[in-house]
């Protein structure tokens, strides 16, 4: 991967994070393709197959992957329309989880690029920390990684796919009312 491509993608991700922290959600939506899939699966505690804490009865049924699969429950499973409605909801003045609003700071790091499925796409991996404070003393850390597909549309990079993996099983925050 060429250095300037890496720089370009990093700058794209930082700009995206800044829009979110500045609560410019409509501008953020413009960075997403119309066919985006935006997915945050749930995660659960499981023993790996090699664990000696259990002896497995039916190996054919055993699932050691912590992440929920396609078609299972997720924290978010969105398309452009539903993300747009989430943003519209914030505009009503009655989205109580964000009224008063969260103060967020997105940190994006460990950016890695791989060739995508075609010439106009890149697979982009990154880690994130999203620090949120709200009201008087509420503090939450959302930490995890993202697997993105970025696509060049009309000379502009856009997010066409985003899988967000949170590093928590029981979510310690009372809600997920921000974007990643």
């Amino acid at each position: 991967m060429r250095d300037e491509t890496i720089r370009e993608i990093e700058q794209f991700l930082y700009r995206e994070a800044r829009l979110l922290d500045d609560r410019k959600f409509h501008e953020w939506l413009e960075l997403l393709t119309d066919d985006i899939r935006y997915w945050m699966p749930v995660r659960s505690n499981r023993y790996p197959v090699i664990s000696k804490a259990i002896s497995i009865l039916d190996g054919s049924r055993y699932e050691e992957d912590e992440l929920s699969k396609e078609g299972e429950l997720a924290i978010m499973d969105e398309d452009k329309d539903s993300l747009t409605r989430r943003v519209q909801r914030l505009d009503t003045g009655m989205a109580w989880a964000e009224d008063p609003p969260s103060r967020t700071r997105h940190f994006v790091s460990n950016v890695q690029l791989e060739p995508g499925a075609n010439d106009s796409e890149l697979n982009v991996y990154s880690n994130f920390i999203m620090y949120r404070t709200r009201a008087e003393t509420e503090v939450d850390f959302y930490v995890g990684c993202r697997e993105d597909v970025l696509r060049k549309v009309g000379g502009q990079w856009k997010v066409a796919y985003r899988k967000i993996v949170l590093d928590q099983t029981v979510l310690l925050a009372k809600n997920v009312s921000n974007f990643f």
Binding site: N45, I54, M94, W96
Partner: protein, 422 residues
């Protein structure tokens, strides 16, 4: 047993004390008087369908392991090793013939029996009676239409008596079609900084908050055109033993107005009518709480949730999504998506509830605010026993009738020394 319960709950006058959401002493009494005695929801059968399948959950603050043994029977045990008390199974789900404690290696079968103890011959001189040191089972376990409940109280009435007249309403959620429902893989689990009764009472009867609390979600289409044209009909219904149901008018549209869902509901309407009987022409149940902490919802999202107590000020929410087993895949998928977008930690509806419940729950902290009585008097006197609905039903669709009956039961459970007093 709580002596001063009358100063905390005055259901007849529609008054409750803020202290019940905040005080550690009251919370400790709840663990004993309510969570150690009532039938509590564990999981749905379809979450552990095959021999060896297991899940871990909680009954109150007691960790519980629910497992299907080799012959397919479902058992539940304290998830605590009998030796030194280590947490036995740390996984949320899986499939196992045996569970082996990480501390010294005691091994238990999925039927709870103690199968192996390291150094049994030499260090224990074979003097440990392994038959006596199996996992501690729940006192009673039973299921209703796939819903598995258990109690740690051997003297608790049978599950069917405990549920009483709420069973028909449970059928409306979980048994509308042959085969009942299945639970979508995975669960939402998160921590709510509020007392466990706050969400329980909300689901038990708070049809009042929806219009204001959730206006942002309804106007931006999170529930489809949910209740865009309410008939004005509906009731909040208390069927006894603290179990409460919220219902709209029989013709009200409570499903998400997603075409595939609406078409499905229209298609199965007659079949459901035949299965559930005439009562479905009187009301359309859409939310409820089975006392003490199991809540159900079937408008916007088809979901159940257990409000696991975590101290007076916190609750671990454990929520699952269910669909009719007989529904076609595209209908199941549509319900899954609606549930994720409407409910759960990111749900357009539920993320706002968290904030409000937290705010209400914190009202019992201050010295002066502790003296306050909160108001659950709405519609007091405007309710009557309705034979056709098998419960105390409000005259109007919005009422705090259920709140009063829920907290009345709470008071009874907190003060009664045994089940015969209830």
């Amino acid at each position: 047993m709580l002596a001063e319960v009358n100063s905390l709950v005055d259901a007849d006058n529609g008054l409750i004390s803020t202290r019940i959401f905040a005080e550690p002493e009251i919370y400790q009494e709840e663990l004993e008087q309510i969570f150690a005695r009532c039938w509590l929801f564990l999981c749905h059968e379809t979450q552990i369908p095959q021999p060896g399948d297991f899940m871990t959950t909680y009954m109150g603050e007691d960790p519980v392991l629910v497992a299907r043994d080799r012959s397919g029977n479902i058992n539940a045990f304290l998830n605590i090793c009998r030796h030194r008390g280590n947490r036995l199974c740390r996984a949320e789900s899986g499939n196992a013939a045996a569970f082996i404690c990480a501390y010294h290696g005691w091994a238990y079968g999925n039927d709870g029996g103690l199968q192996a103890v390291p150094n049994l011959q030499d260090a224990y001189y074979s003097e440990l009676d392994t038959n006596k040191w199996g996992l501690i089972p729940v006192a009673q376990l039973d299921s209703y239409k796939g819903l598995i409940f258990a109690t740690f109280d051997a003297s608790a009435p049978p599950l069917l008596d405990y549920l009483g007249d709420v069973t028909w309403y449970l059928d409306f959620f979980f048994d509308r079609r042959e085969g009942g429902v299945e639970v979508v893989g995975g669960m939402h689990k998160w921590i709510l900084p509020a007392n466990w009764k706050m969400p329980s009472e909300n689901f038990c009867g708070d049809g009042y908050h929806t219009a204001w609390s959730h206006l942002s979600a309804t106007t931006t289409g999170f529930g489809g055109e949910f209740r865009s044209k309410p008939s004005g009909e509906g009731k909040v219904i208390s069927t006894g033993n603290g179990h409460c149901i919220v219902a709209l008018g029989a013709e009200d549209q409570t499903d998400p107005s997603v075409p595939v869902i609406l078409a499905y509901e229209a298609e199965i309407k007659q079949e459901v009518e035949k299965r559930l009987g005439d009562r479905i022409n009187l009301v359309k149940p859409h939310a409820g709480t089975i006392f003490p902490n199991f809540s159900i919802l079937r408008s916007i999202a088809r979901t159940f949730r257990v409000w696991q107590p975590r101290g007076p000020g916190h609750t671990e929410i454990q929520a699952g999504v269910f669909v009719d087993k007989a529904a076609p895949p595209e209908v199941k998928e549509a319900f899954r998506i609606q549930a994720i977008r409407g409910f759960g930690p990111s749900g357009g509806f539920e993320q706002d509830d968290m904030d409000n419940w937290q705010g209400c729950s914190e009202s019992g902290r201050g010295f002066i605010s502790k003296r306050q009585r909160l108001n659950i008097a709405m519609g007091k006197g405007h309710e009557s026993y309705d034979e056709k609905l098998s419960g105390w039903a409000s005259d109007y669709r919005i009422s705090e009738n259920n709140h009063r009956n829920y907290y009345r039961r709470w008071g009874q459970m907190m003060s009664a020394a045994n089940w015969s007093e209830l």
